[in-house]
């Protein structure tokens, strides 16, 4: 079988160019911020970087999940998920500035604070700088390794499906998903939860796993809808596939609400002073307003809209809900880590936004989209050797009616 030649949607080239320009402008602004307020610079940097990292990690999870389950919902965007995952080595390099700003971000990294704080002192076996750096290196090694391996084998299948290689792909994806869940849990604890080193929750890692998957799914839907007007995605993206993505978006919207409410219910029921400060901080003043916004626009409104079957089958309508979800994921991340970034886990801080937060989110957005588009353009955008995808592109005469 010859290597299939396939047009790359032209808007990906534009995304790459504009992403770079857009990202450069805002990251330059953020860099100026470094000289104005160094502590705020690191807070904003972590916020923006973490949001876009979440989409990349989430896409790696979706790519491996689809290797195990199959289904057009993940076969059609497979090359995009893999491209997003291949940005992870670069995202690892972009983690270095966080390490340089540890003192501004994590109180447990400052010896004078640890010396005066008995609770943190009892946690230093885990919360110490060398171990923190080593763990981060491990997370990125696992994520990058999985991303490159799954991408490589999956792309090789374009030359003809090799059952042995397909088996290896399933094997590495199964083990990989377990490894991804574990590393993501600890990454969330390290980079998010340890901002307030007194507080702890066993649900915290799950919040990030669900949130990042939701971000990746929303990103997929927005991207697919955007590309659905260009060949070859115009043929490959059928209403049935959009419907499946919509159903997954609804399921993860509900899962997000479920895990967040579970944590809240447990803390509320227990009502002990070790756990309640998290919600006391986040349910009063401006942070309380954000909590209500999340309840309405991260759950209630998308949930009600996604009940509609016609909406779930229409790519561009679904993309509006997915776009809202991406914005809400950013708000959710700010609500989760923002208070602790400002207080460093001690006392209370009123809701405050800084222009650097926005510059960081937009700057990393542009940069990440540039990295993503560059990766997409190195491979064919559809896994054409897969019979189910081939049938979509070749049209009805190429295949008997597909019955599921």
């Amino acid at each position: 079988m010859s290597t299939p030649t396939m047009p790359t949607p032209p808007s990906l080239g534009r995304l790459q160019r504009n992403g770079l320009a857009f990202g450069a402008v805002f990251l330059l602004g953020l860099a100026v911020g470094f000289f104005l307020d160094r502590h705020q610079f690191f807070r904003s940097y972590l916020f923006g970087w973490l949001f876009w990292l979440g989409i990349a990690v989430g896409c790696l999870g979706l790519a491996m999940l689809n290797q195990l389950t199959g289904g057009l919902w993940g076969l059609v965007p497979r090359r995009f998920h893999e491209a997003a995952a291949r940005t992870l080595p670069t995202m690892a390099v972009l983690f270095v500035p966080v390490l340089l700003g540890l003192g501004s971000l994590y109180v447990w990294s400052r010896p004078e604070v640890v010396a005066a704080d008995e609770i943190i002192r009892s946690k230093t076996a885990y919360l110490n700088v060398p171990f923190f750096v080593a763990r981060a290196a491990l997370y990125f090694a696992v994520w990058s390794g999985l991303a490159l391996l799954v991408s490589r084998w999956s792309t090789q299948q374009d030359g003809g499906i090799d059952p042995a290689r397909a088996g290896r792909l399933r094997g590495v994806s199964g083990v990989g998903l377990v490894a991804l869940s574990g590393t993501t849990t600890f990454a969330a604890i390290d980079w998010g939860m340890s901002l307030a080193p007194h507080w702890f929750s066993t649900m915290y890692g799950v919040l990030f796993i669900v949130g990042w998957t939701l971000s990746a799914l929303s990103f997929t839907i927005v991207l697919m809808a955007r590309l659905s007007r260009e060949s070859p995605m115009s043929e490959a993206l059928q209403p049935g596939t959009v419907h499946d993505l919509g159903k997954l978006l609804l399921a993860f919207t509900m899962l997000w609400a479920y895990v967040n409410f579970s944590q809240f219910l447990i803390v509320w029921s227990g009502n002990i002073s070790e756990e309640t400060p998290f919600y006391v901080q986040r349910m009063h003043g401006g942070w309380g307003v954000i909590a209500v916004v999340l309840l309405l626009f991260h759950f209630a409104l998308p949930f009600a809209l996604l009940l509609s079957r016609p909406l779930k089958r229409h790519a561009r309508s679904l993309a509006i809900v997915a776009g809202l979800m991406l914005v809400m994921q950013l708000v959710d991340l700010y609500w989760l880590i923002g208070p602790d970034l400002l207080t460093q886990g001690r006392g209370h801080a009123p809701l405050r936004f800084h222009w650097m937060d926005l510059a960081s989110a937009l700057g990393f957005g542009g940069l990440w989209l540039f990295l993503f588009a560059r990766q997409v353009r190195t491979r064919p955008v559809l896994p054409l050797a897969e019979p189910a995808v081939r049938a979509l592109v070749d049209g009805p005469q190429g295949a008997e009616v597909v019955t599921s």
Binding site: G240, F261, F264, L265, S269, N271, R309, E400, V401, T403
Partner: protein, 176 residues
């Protein structure tokens, strides 16, 4: 004495033939039609434009009733009928109400889905005219059937029969 005609039953040997025929039948303006297949075929439902079911509305109504009922039950017992001090919490302890109210929402919605589907389908239905056609039992094995009812405004015993045979079907008359 002949019994009244229920409709014409067309038998196809492949799912592809049935889907193509379904498109033609819809294009021909027939509305009182149904298809019988060994497994669910979404393409046929779409081709015949039969997908407009009222079940989703029943499910929504069931869900809303379950939510209101479950929440109302807890509010009434905890706040009005038998208020109890539990760990100093407010009587209207809404976070604790959420999980049971969610469960009743799902329960009522699921019951509305199953019972509503059966009611709208007229199930259970031990007798149907198409059962009179010899060989109809293969609809649950390897044959694909399409029925145009005599009650259809466009139905004509001769012309409709010709039309279906023209689509490559074996046509049998189903009597009431």
């Amino acid at each position: 004495m002949t019994r009244p005609l229920y409709g014409l039953l067309a038998e196809f040997r492949s799912p592809g033939d049935l889907v193509r025929a379904a498109h033609e039948v819809h294009a021909g303006g027939y509305t009182k039609v149904d298809a019988y297949t060994p497994y669910p075929m979404e393409e046929v439902i779409e081709a015949l434009h039969l997908g407009h079911s009222h079940v989703p509305k029943l499910v929504l109504a069931g869900g809303v009733a379950g939510l209101a009922g479950g929440w109302g039950l807890q509010y009434w017992t905890s706040v009005i009928d038998y208020p109890m001090n539990i760990g100093g919490r407010a009587f209207n302890a809404w976070p604790a109400f959420v999980v049971p109210a969610f469960e009743t929402t799902v329960l009522f919605a699921a019951l509305a889905a199953v019972l509503g589907m059966m009611a709208l389908n007229g199930l259970p239905q031990p007798y149907h005219p198409v059962f009179n056609v010899p060989g109809f039992a293969t609809a649950s094995r390897d044959r694909f059937f399409l029925c145009i009812e005599a009650a259809d405004p466009k139905f004509d015993r001769e012309a409709t029969g010709q039309f279906l045979r023209g689509l490559g079907a074996e046509v049998t008359e189903a009597e009431e």
